[in-house]
Amino acid sequence: MSRVSVPCHVKGTVALQVGDVRTSHGRPGVLVIDVTFPSVAPFELQEITFKNYYTAFLSIRVRQHTSMHTPAKWVTCLRDYCLMPDPHSEEGAQEYVSLFKHQSPSMTFPKWLSHPGPCEQPVPLLEGLPDPSRVSSEVQQMWALTEMIRASHTSARIGRFDVDGCYDLNLLSYT
């Protein structure tokens, strides 16, 4: 079966922004690009190719019509795929990227595997290292408890009149 380009319509980018667009400064960090396929005939998507322009992470969500009777669902095929190992450097900023489909027979939706891209992903769970999600949970709780105490300082004073930590009456009487 030969590969054929599928005609698609790429809509303009929409910025995801918290707060008032008019008054907030700076540019938002998340942009959404909608891609639609006007042709009605069903097809199997094999590859997505594009040229990056200073995007660090990419997520792809697909809305699939599985059958005529069930409503279409949104499925995340790719989550936070790293295109630029360091967002503040040039590496990967203007690379051509190809993402391939890897059909997994047990799944009902295509499972996307990232093609070895220009960057190397760090392996999240190595042998012999503690479980990062459990470590993260404890550390976050510790952070929250500390933040709570930092925020709950009392303005009440105990009414000391120290001079250099000294309670000496003679010293105090000279100030």
């Binding site: 999240p124 550390v139 952070w143 105490i149």
Partner: protein, 292 residues
Amino acid sequence: MAAVEKRRPAVVPAANFADSGRPSVSRAAAAAAESEEDFLRQVGVTEMLRAALLKVLEARPEEPIAFLAHYFENMGLRSPANGGAGEPPGQLLLQQQRLGRALWHLRLAHHSQRTAFNNNVGVAYECLSASGRKKKPGLDGRTYSELLKRICRDGEAPEEVVAPLLRKIQCRDHEAVPLDVFRAGMLTCFVLLEFVARASALFQLLEGPAVAVADRRVGQAVLDTLEGALQASDNSAGPACYLEAGSRLGPDSLALAMDRAMSGRRPSSPMTREEFLEKAAALFIAKVKPVG
């Protein structure tokens, strides 16, 4: 049939058969029930149970039975213990009783149940400030400091771990401690105990299999990440600092930090639980405002 009145003034003896018209069995049963209820009221059990149920309703604990068990266990503190030697038994005993009672109040609600906790703090403060024969009204710094030490000791926090906190929030022996300072001190103490418990659980995740120590590189990396997140909150305020902390303390960035630490050139060396807890607690205590 004889109706059982709930509030008869006196206990009716079971052997009273003055009214021959009424069946004696029901009269005796009524009398027995009456004497039981009176007995409970007279020994104070009715009032005690009512107070206990009110406390459960206020605290809404996750495990009510265990809560009630601890509640009644601590009731033992209310009964006078054997007097101590040396000092006049009244004074020392009274002091210990007050401390015990205050501690009991403070433990009834978790610090996260803020309203209940603050109520209990108020009651504990009043209990400690009550004037005695030789004691003037108000809470003195010495009692306050002793209470802080007791709380930390009972909470199984190592002394070296809590010592820096006590230095920050203790009051001098003869200073009068106002309620606000007392409340802040109690909250800080109990929150620190929870912090140390979490740090202990964290250490258990980090420690090697079958050994009671953790790899120093990994332990230090985790602590440094936490310190970094806390410092970021110093610089920014509001939602930005939560986002920053969330990203720094997420599983991915922690995994990265630990991985980097392990693959560094420094050789592995052990870190004990005590050292880890001391260093972790220091991060917390640094954010505590000292008494002044």
